[in-house]
Symmetry: C2
């Protein structure tokens, strides 16, 4: 084979909603090897003919399974960043994925932890390589799609309330969302078999009990609404 080759990797921006604060968190992993050994970075794997993956998507799943031992509710490729400067070893590519996790996932291992998204976006915490940029792009994709799809529901607990759904949408969009609109969207999805009413209730500290719903995706691709939230 010729020398016309480059270093390629797959990196994962895996998000979950923090169970208590209901804010977004990014799954990071402490690097074992150089470059940037010891630093917290996106979990990822190298791809090439000597690694066991048949495709990029398979490599993305392997990265999550091996490094993080989690299975995502949703996984989609966001894009590829490639240039001469992002890795000190030379011209390199990273194809990066957005993964949405159950808020109840547990991460085992010292070298794996969730980190608050906002502190990454504000650059108060810096990631090695251009991982900060990759996080930003993945979150932009999530926000853009959350306006007209059910993507936020992939972040909600298995049985969830209207308020859980509202909190997820607000976290994805980074702004307040109208409660009535959330209810209507859930109602609409229920009619199409994408959400079911479990019949169970959850009793908050005070007040009327909350209905518990379950998200039951019917296809790999997200549910698409034909209007945008935030139209104002």
């Amino acid at each position: 084979m010729s020398t016309a080759e480059v270093l390629a990797s797959v990196d994962i921006v895996a998000l979950r909603l923090s169970p208590h604060s209901q804010r977004l968190e990014v799954l990071l992993h402490q690097r074992e090897r150089e470059p940037h050994a010891g630093q917290w970075a996106l979990p990822g794997v190298i791809v090439n003919g000597r690694t066991p993956d048949n495709s990029l998507d398979a490599a993305a799943e392997r990265a999550l399974a091996e490094k993080a031992r989690v299975q995502p509710r949703h996984l989609e490729q966001v894009g590829t960043e490639g240039n001469a400067f992002r890795d000190p070893r030379g011209w390199s590519l990273s194809t990066y994925y957005l993964a949405l996790l159950d808020p109840d996932v547990d991460v085992e291992g010292e070298h794996l932890a969730f980190h608050d998204l906002d502190s990454l976006l504000s650059r108060r915490v810096l990631l090695p390589f251009d991982h900060g940029l990759l996080v930003e792009r993945a979150v932009e994709r999530l926000a853009a799609k959350s306006v007209y799809t059910n993507l936020p529901l992939y972040l909600v607990p298995e049985r969830f309330t209207v308020l859980d759904a509202l909190a997820a949408m607000q976290a994805c969009l980074g702004q307040a969302v109208n409660g009535t609109s959330v209810r209507k969207r859930l109602e609409r999805m229920k009619g199409e078999g994408w959400v079911e009413d479990t019949g169970e209730k959850h009793q908050p500290r005070l007040g009327r009990p909350q209905q518990l719903y379950r998200h039951t995706p019917r296809e790999a691709r997200a549910f698409v609404f034909d209007r945008s939230l935030l139209a104002g």
Copy 2:
């Protein structure tokens, strides 16, 4: 540098509206080298440390400029396909872009031509590597975005009529579009400075003359409507 490397390229799915039939066409280029020498394929370039590009986006622009000598109205990365089988030389990656061209572009050179999109999508004409798949994905992206953005206007002549816009939308979406909706969208964009009324008219063979508009994008990113066409 280690051997952990892979063959990477950037390929372009460049589309234009055929001036007479107003159907979509894909820009293809006849390969000079093996593999698949002599066959018509997507224009593309290899990327690595020895090629002159500082980034993937720069490589995409170079691919269009060098191979096709055209400048696109719109250029966006769609995704990256990577696996062990797509290229006989081994594990390889292609990051592919969607480019939208002026219908009046001229392609110079024998090894460059536009080819009807439908015959590629129907697989009556086959492309080497997985270029058929890349075309399909790029067109899917175009259709998905055409529902709620102004992307079709990047395919329309410099001065265009309502019918031109309608034809572009229909070509992008692959289905009929309501004329009133097109007018209203143009009116809306005019209000936001994305479309201007040239004041000029175009006289069809018979009947009342048509207003000529001009598309004047205000940003790199597309104009986003907050409702979908085809909501029915």
